[in-house]
Symmetry: C2
Subunit: 259 residues, 2 copies
DNA sequence: ACCATTACTTGATAAGTGTCAATGCTTCGC
DNA sequence: GCGAAGCATTGACACTTATCAAGTAATGGT
């Protein structure tokens, strides 16, 4: 298990990668064989990078060679599209890959760690010498990118086809499945995004989001502990709030209730 | 140039693929060497498929092996998310690949040809015997998927960060750059989507879209010929209508005006 | 443990968009 | 070239959501 040069960037803590840790929730990879192989490639060519909560990793459009693999944590891609306004575009979960090619060419963009996050940085050119490893990596990246595209499409559906309330419900379900503890029909999870972040991501006003949360709480669908924890009282009930919940369950690793 | 078994599906006309034709507008591929190689792989393993205007290709979630390459035309991925409502999610242009993995697991989804379209169907398993060709294909698919993800993010930005009018402006710019004839600062292009389709895609009401078009026409930004052709009177003027136009230009192959 | 700061909630109001219905224009078939 | 059917436009109205302002709760630092 050789490690390559570690060139620290943007104040990220970097260190050689040891054995990859277990992923958090998320959907389970279908073929564990290739997952093993991926971990080896990551360990061989990658450099471990730790991001603190709220840390920003500016997207360097001039450097398409760098690839990041998310080992743990939750990151969000933010772009400055219109004027000074930040627009969250996509959420990155453990198992995802991030690279510059995924970002529309806006004036600026950042990948922001919403929780502490463990990343692995790989210079794709460094893998070029080993065709076998490169194939492995290309395949893993391609597969994950397809999955992210599907999730992106789900997000588009969430934004377009749903009422505000359904949008919020579907989002909480996603977050719960990805980062929460599922116990029977309930989920408890952190809310690593602020109300403003969630509102922007769901294309809502923060005030409106607050009202919607109040309504959902009043209806007994969810509850909150402090500002940054949410409890889904009943997944079934939550699912009734939004028509895209089934697809959300499948894409984000829940077990579909039979009914 | 060997051709594989052609198993016709859903009334699509199928035929062995000859030499791939030139792509239409769109951004230019950076390395023509690998583009050549891709055409060869497509010619070797692919089956040509022609889609008529408005033809639906139902997405078969049980068949992840099939890959489609878009040679010409414009297709749109439609999902049934909420109730009976159709929701357009993504547009596929020449150069794009389509596969089941890209589609969120909704109750049903269709790929609909909005213009006559030439596709190439490939069974990925049929390429498995040649590691060299498989690598080539995987790489091409991966790269294109990343690009489509970026476009998807741009669409999310368009839906979230923009006023309705800006949304429409950005969309017309995209369509013009992809399918239209650019002459100096003007573009003439077909509108292969009906007002309803455009409205759904931009998450607007068809009535509202109509009003916005009327406003844009009154302001001299665009004009229409009949129902299915649009003229952008001035790209510069159009760009002033929407903050994401620069990114749209880059991603969809326009030449940025220097100012 | 306190206070200052920041984040969130809530109310009143306005703006924008969706809905419904009626009308006008295109397009396609004969 | 004509007529019928479908698509697009426009107006009146209702409803959702954004905005602004004020007040309340939570968080973090000393």
């Amino acid at each position: 298990m050789k490690t390559r040069k570690s060139s620290p960037t943007n104040g990220f803590e970097s260190a050689p990668v040891g054995a990859a840790e277990a992923f958090t929730n998320g959907p389970v990879a279908s073929d564990t064989g290739s997952e093993q192989a991926l971990e080896e490639v990551l360990a061989t060519y990658g450099v471990a990078v730790k991001a603190r909560r709220r840390q920003r990793l500016p997207v360097d459009f001039k450097n398409p060679d760098t690839l990041y693999f998310v080992k743990s944590g939750l990151l969000i891609l933010n772009s400055v599209c219109a004027g000074e306004r930040q627009q969250p575009l996509s959420i990155f979960y453990p198992g995802d890959f991030f690279m510059v090619d995924l970002v529309p060419p806006f004036a600026s963009a950042d990948l922001i760690a919403m929780t502490e996050a463990d990343l692995v940085r790989i210079r794709q050119s460094s893998v070029a010498n080993s065709p076998e490893d490169l194939r492995m990596l290309d395949k893993a990246v391609g597969k994950q990118t397809a999955d992210m595209f599907a999730r992106s499409n789900l997000h588009i559906a969430r934004l377009s086809a749903l009422s505000s309330e359904s949008r919020v419900a579907a989002f909480i379900l996603e977050l719960g499945l990805r980062t929460g503890q599922v116990v029977n029909d309930t989920v408890t999870c952190d809310l690593p995004l602020s109300r403003n972040d969630i509102a922007d991501y769901l294309s809502l006003n923060a005030d409106t989001l607050s009202r919607i949360m109040t309504r959902l709480k009043a209806r007994g669908v969810v509850a909150t502990i402090g500002r940054s924890r949410a409890i889904v009282k009943s997944i079934k009930k939550l699912c009734r709030e939004s028509p895209i919940c089934n697809a959300t369950m499948v894409l984000h690793g829940g077990t579909l209730p039979q009914e």
